[in-house]
């Protein structure tokens, strides 16, 4: 580096290089503080601080001047503890503090903005008056590709917690419990194990149509209970899709679930770094189609065959499909789930999250994907 950086953090060095490559004078990484399973958390990834307020931004220039502005102001000490960015500014007048920092860093001309779609009008227009805004999400997307031990440790920790959640699902899915009580037990198990965020959908009944948030319904004998169990740790989510039958399993259900297991296995065989992402869904849809359900391989009978999971990116994408033109990369974390409505059985949940390696898919769950039976 020619300039004296305000921090020697590897992310800052990398981002400054990328700014130069893209002829940008600076970068603003913005967050509205909302979490979404299928939206990358760019500011969280870059700063290593998960914001809670409605307006937060990292501002940096090509010389390595960098500041993290967080709202509410009282969240500043927490931000300072979490982030590697030395200059943290708690703010109660966000736009004023943001534009002041832009001026302080002498940002002019084209400035990249990551997370621009999270901006509301006041911030967007306020910045637009000062600088030329250029969408620049790809800067973080490029950085995220380089996964280290720290990220992989997080993946494994979230996987262990997902197994704990799946075990609670299988243990507590019993006749008489209400759907929302089942969620309470699963959430307790996963939070106590270290999850800091959880996404849980389920459904119960003889013939389910979709997974949804829990209702008052009490589980009954003969129910098929389906669940999408997704704990998160520090922004990294892992998803397991499981099905349990309360009582004796109908042979038709066994037969149909086997189709989904086969579809999952076949799709996992396609996974390795360099392979086409679409090969996952092509393999999955082929198995389901050959079983006579080709016309059900589209919404509303299924939603998504798979998607990526990582703090700073959801590559290869938020919805993997047959037409996707991207290749898988080493250490991508992908949820693969042939969750499917079948007319004879209703909607069934079957899937897990894997790690892409050079030699294939590494299954991250220790809880087998199969049709479970509960007394």
């Amino acid at each position: 580096m020619e300039v004296s950086m305000r921090s020697n953090h590897v992310k800052l060095i990398r981002v400054v290089d990328l700014l130069k490559e893209k002829a940008l004078n600076g970068l603003i990484i913005y967050s509205d503080g909302l979490s979404s399973l299928l939206r990358p958390a760019y500011l969280h990834y870059f700063s290593e601080f998960k914001p809670l307020g409605p307006r937060n931004a990292v501002v940096l220039d090509r010389s390595g001047n960098i500041a993290l502005i967080v709202q509410p102001a009282w969240d500043g000490p927490r931000a300072s503890q979490k982030t590697w960015i030395p200059d943290v500014r708690g703010s109660s007048q966000f736009l004023k503090d943001l534009t002041k920092t832009v001026e302080e860093f002498h940002l002019q001309g084209p400035v990249g903005v990551v997370g621009m779609r999270e901006m509301k009008e006041e911030v967007y227009l306020g910045l637009k008056k000062k600088i030329e805004l250029r969408p620049a999400d790809e800067i973080i997307e490029e950085m995220v590709r380089e996964k280290g031990e720290k990220e992989l440790a997080l993946v494994r920790k979230a996987s262990r917690i997902a197994d704990i959640g799946a075990k609670a699902f299988l243990d507590y899915a019993r006749v008489g419990i209400r759907e929302y009580e089942l969620v309470a037990e699963m959430e307790y198990a996963m939070r106590s194990a270290g999850a800091d965020d959880i996404f849980l959908l389920l459904s119960s009944g003889r013939h389910n149509r979709e997974m949804h948030e829990p209702t008052d319904r009490r589980l009954e004998k003969g129910d098929i209970v389906i669940g999408e169990i997704t704990p998160g740790v520090n922004g990294q989510f892992i998803q397991l899709c499981r099905t349990v039958v309360l009582g004796k399993v109908n042979p038709v259900l066994v037969e149909k679930y086997e189709i989904l297991i086969h579809a999952l296995d076949e799709s996992l065989k396609e996974i390795r770094s360099g392979a086409s992402a679409s090969s996952i869904t092509i393999a999955m849809n082929r198995v389901i189609g050959e079983a006579g359900y080709a016309k059900y391989c589209a919404p509303p009978y299924m939603r998504s065959r798979g998607h990526g999971f990582a703090v700073g990116s959801i590559a290869p994408g938020g919805e993997i499909d047959d037409k996707m033109k991207v290749n898988l990369e080493k250490h991508q974390v992908i949820a693969v789930h042939p969750n499917q409505y079948i007319p004879e059985t209703g909607y069934l949940a079957c899937g897990e999250t894997i790690l892409v390696t050079d030699t294939g898919a590494e299954r991250l769950s220790g809880i087998e994907t199969k049709l479970y039976e509960s007394a």
């Binding site: 509205d32 503080g33 909302l34 979490s35 979404s36 399973l37 939206r39 998960k50 809670l52 307020g53 409605p54 509410p72 102001a73 009282w74 969240d75 000490p77 927490r78 503890q81 621009m116 779609r117 999270e118 901006m119 509301k120 009008e121 006041e122 911030v123 967007y124 227009l125 929302y180 009580e181 969620v183 309470a184 037990e185 959430e187 307790y188 198990a189 996963m190 939070r191 106590s192 194990a193 270290g194 800091d196 965020d197 959880i198 996404f199 849980l200 959908l201 149509r209 979709e210 949804h212 948030e213 829990p214 209702t215 008052d216 997704t230 998160g232 989510f237 919404p299 509303p300 939603r303």
Partner: protein, 381 residues
């Protein structure tokens, strides 16, 4: 108070028509239309986004989006309203279970879907009132809306609904009361629980479990340890709480769309968490909330609180604000600050927080959700 937002509202998702019958929404519809007529509005778009700011569209529809997405109600001065949410159309049957509105549309972008719908209905060009659009809609969606409805007269009319939402109906008050009961129950269970090792995550898990079992739709926990970490609130993390340590808990719960919050100070003792009973803190808090009176401006209340505290030679730590309205959002109007001149009214649900420095505890904090009645405040938590 700001809290860490979840990735999904995981809790119980129902519309209890006994607690909140359709008649309640008919009353609201009539009230809003009367105001629309007064303001010469042909249409109203009531928009909200995310986990906390759903009140504008939920006030009329009862629906709440469970993800970090937007939704809105399109209300014509005459005719049936429509609910538009960001999500897949396969979610419509589930959405239908929690709203009385028949016309439901789904799409990837609330703004684009709205324009499509308005054009299809031939409801534009017209005079369109916008609520929540300026402050909550992502700028690119707002730009699209503005560009697409160029022939219409667009007016930001946020205060129109703010007034209505501030004063709660008796059914709304009951919902806030129910939410308050969940908090009381969760705190009671926490103080009865024996922990082999008191750590933040197990404590959080216990609170979540109890709140969910009691029907919490959404639940938030923040923790402060005044003897260390500068005593600011954070989401619970992995870490042991030491015996004798002061723990301040901020809890907020959403029950059937309505929020309530409470703050309590506890001490780690004998593998458990024991509530701190400080008579002086309770008395001071009581004196403060007694200053809440219908007719008084929110700013005047703040001024009087400051005078009261000075008189007692106590120290007010205003970091988190004195409080604000609560209901369909954990933070709504009025704001109990020196700048908000909104007159306090009977039927408002408010939060009031109070924190004092304390040599032994580091700090002690208390907070409740209150109902403002003719006779003064009633504590709901």
């Amino acid at each position: 108070m700001e809290t860490m937002q979840p990735v999904l509202k995981n809790g119980r998702n129902v519309w209890d028509r006994v607690n909140m019958p359709e008649a309640e929404f008919c009353d609201r519809l009539n009230k809003i239309r009367k105001t629309m007529k007064r303001e010469n509005l042909d249409l109203l778009l009531l928009y909200g986004n995310g986990y906390d700011d759903y009140g504008n569209y939920s006030y009329l529809s009862n629906y709440v989006i469970r993800l970090a997405r937007g939704a809105l109600v399109v209300l014509p001065i005459k005719g049936e309203p429509a609910l538009i949410f960001e999500g897949a159309s396969r979610g419509i049957p589930s959405v239908r279970k929690t709203t009385w509105i028949q016309e439901i549309r789904a799409g990837g972008d609330a703004s684009k879907e709205s324009v499509k719908f308005l054009e299809e209905k031939k409801w534009v060009p017209s005079t369109v009132g916008l609520i929540g659009v300026k402050s909550q809609m992502p700028y690119d969606q707002r730009e699209f809306l503005r560009d697409s409805l160029r022939g219409s007269r667009l007016l930001d009319v946020d205060p129109l609904l703010r007034e209505m939402r501030m004063v709660k109906s008796s059914r709304e008050i009951d919902q806030v009361r129910r939410a308050g009961r969940i908090l009381s129950r969760a705190l009671a269970v926490l103080s009865e629980t024996f922990f082999p090792e008191v750590n933040e995550k197990t404590m959080e898990g216990t609170l979540y479990r109890e709140a969910r079992i009691e029907g919490a739709e959404d639940f938030r926990v923040m923790i402060s340890k005044p003897k260390r970490d500068q005593g600011t609130f954070s989401p619970p993390e992995e870490g042991t709480l030491l015996s004798g340590e002061t723990v301040v808990l901020y809890l907020a719960v959403e029950f059937e769309r309505y929020w309530s919050e409470a703050i309590r100070t506890l001490i780690v003792k004998d593998n458990g968490l024991v509530p701190v009973e400080r008579q002086d803190l309770n008395e001071r808090y009581k004196k403060i909330i007694e200053l809440l009176e219908p007719g008084k401006a929110a700013s005047q209340f703040c001024k009087e609180v400051q005078t009261q505290i000075r008189k007692e030679k106590a120290e007010l730590l205003p970091t988190y604000g004195l409080g604000q309205g609560i209901g369909l959002s954990p933070r709504e109007y009025p704001i109990l600050s020196k700048d908000d001149k909104t007159p306090l009214k009977e039927g408002m649900c408010l939060t009031v927080r109070f924190i004092v420095k304390d040599e032994a505890l580091g700090a002690a904090m208390t907070g409740n959700t209150l109902l403002l009645t003719r006779k003064g405040p009633e504590i709901l938590t």
